[in-house]
């Protein structure tokens, strides 16, 4: 009997496919998310848009909040640790969190190195903007990927860019001759072995969810159509006027992402979605996606 194997870690993410993972900051929100059909919740102290507004250093949530959320629902609970913060990650693992997001939404603890996620029993999800980043995270032991997008903006444009980029680069690697892969690895900054595995499988070896800017049911469906395996929704749900209704609508739009009549129905009378931020108005140091190496 073996725990923490790649198959067990990656398999956990496979079971989340076609689903929506929702950011929550307390037990009450976690229950609303579960009731709406979320496949997992991400326990946080603040949603990304509030982290953005508050400024300062953003850290792992208070363990009390994580514990409260774990006690409130039977679906898996995820939590965020700072990039490279070995101890925050170990604390979350010790608490029995089901998945850790080594996340650029929090202030990085290490400006050079990510966690060696192979050393952990708990699985990790990491953000990526291109196949180089995706492959480095996989080699470090990440069992799930997500686009970085631009968290807390309610603007889907960056998530679209990242999803299209990774998928285009995967298609290229799959179509390449094996002899060409080493140079491609050099150009992408990607470990050769990971590219070899992608070529052999014809796809990424782990699931890749959309994240960072999903604000409406149509946004969620768009990301599914672009090839996302599922969707993370951060600030969008609990910053909307009617979170329960909004959450249900996002879940349904993710399941039936090609059923436009249904999505039209779901999108009626949802109230105001979060206001959103135009990306070009963010200075580079305020773009969370630039964090990670």
């Amino acid at each position: 009997m073996r725990t923490g194997t790649d198959r067990v870690k990656r398999g956990m993410a496979e079971m989340q496919k076609g689903g929506v993972i929702m950011d929550v900051v307390n037990a009450e929100q976690a229950k609303i998310a579960e009731e709406a059909g979320a496949v997992a919740v991400m326990a946080l102290e603040r949603v990304p848009s509030d982290i953005r507004a508050a400024g300062g250093v953003a850290r792992m949530a208070d363990p009390r909040i994580v514990e409260e959320v774990m006690g409130a629902v039977t679906i898996p609970v995820m939590a965020k640790a700072r990039i490279g913060h070995i101890v925050e990650a170990r604390i979350l693992e010790a608490m029995g969190v089901d998945y850790i997001d080594e996340s650029e939404v929090l202030t990085p603890a290490d400006e050079e190195f990510h966690l060696n996620k192979n050393e952990f029993t708990v699985p990790f999800v990491c953000g990526c903007r291109d196949l180089g980043e995706a492959s480095r995270r996989i080699a470090e032991g990440s069992a799930m990927l997500r686009t970085k997008g631009e968290p807390g903006t309610g603007n889907i444009v960056e998530a679209v860019r990242h999803m299209r980029k990774v998928n285009a680069q995967v298609r290229k690697v799959v179509s390449m001759d094996e002899a060409e892969l080493m140079t491609e690895a050099k150009l992408l900054g990607a470990p050769y072995e990971v590219l070899l595995e992608i070529k052999r499988l014809g796809r990424l070896p782990v699931v890749n969810f959309a994240a960072g800017g999903v604000a409406t049911p149509a946004d969620a469906a768009l990301m599914m159509q672009l090839g996302a395996d599922g969707v993370f929704v951060g600030s969008g749900i609990f910053k909307s006027d009617n979170p329960a209704k909004f959450a249900r609508a996002i879940v349904e739009a993710t399941t039936h992402y090609q059923d436009y009549k249904l999505i039209a129905e779901l999108s009626k009378d949802l109230g105001t979605a979060m206001k959103g931020i135009e990306i070009s108005s963010l200075t580079p140091e305020n773009r969370m996606q630039e964090r990670g190496w």
Partner: protein, 195 residues
């Protein structure tokens, strides 16, 4: 022979691949009316609470019960087993409630306790690489239930006539012998229906 995979959420693609590798046609079922054409149905692993919400939302429940009443084979893996069970520990009502077993959710613990191990599956295969993810197990099985596998004394695979269920995820491995066993169950049921 047409085998559907309930495609509301979870490891749908993997089951489709496994069905095709076992020589049957695979269909992803997203709406209740699509069930009518099917000879057998697989309910995949995923989140049982999410699948249940969507089953209710789209009126799947009566159609799934009819499917079972018609004697057509159904195979549930992990969350799928929970949906098939007649009794779920800690809940007053079952989901589809057709297989005579009592299951307990997340009974091996949280994700860090998830594991893989080799299992002998009675009359199906030996040394099967079984991947358990926040898995349920069968606490109690009715008298007509044939126990196919146990792990540390807990029932993790069983068959009751047309129903097949397991705690683990055969779809995550390259060994298609359990799916092939289910495909044979579907073939036999179809033959019997024709007689």
């Amino acid at each position: 022979m047409k085998i559907g995979v309930l495609g509301l959420q979870g490891a749908v693609r993997e089951h489709v691949r496994s069905i095709m590798a076992s020589g049957a046609e695979a269909y992803v079922i997203k709406w209740p009316e699509e069930l009518k054409e099917m000879d057998g149905l697989i309910i995949p692993g995923g989140e049982s609470t999410t699948m249940r919400k969507l089953i209710d939302k789209y009126g799947f429940m009566p159609e799934l019960k009819k499917f079972a009443e018609a004697g057509k084979p159904m195979f549930g893996t992990c969350a799928g087993l929970i949906l098939l069970a007649k009794r779920v520990v800690g809940y007053n009502e079952p989901h589809i409630g057709v297989m005579d077993v009592t299951v307990e959710r997340n009974s091996f613990g949280r994700q860090k306790e998830s594991f893989e191990t080799e299992l002998d599956i009675n009359g199906v295969t030996e040394n099967f690489a079984a991947v358990f993810i926040r898995a349920p197990h069968i606490v109690e099985a009715g008298e007509n239930v044939e126990i196919l596998a146990k792990h540390e004394g807990r029932i993790v695979a069983a068959r009751e006539g047309q129903f097949l269920g397991c705690s683990f995820h055969p779809e995550l491995t390259e060994d298609h012998s359990i799916t092939a066993y289910f495909v044979r169950m579907v073939a036999e049921a179809k033959e019997k229906a024709l007689v």
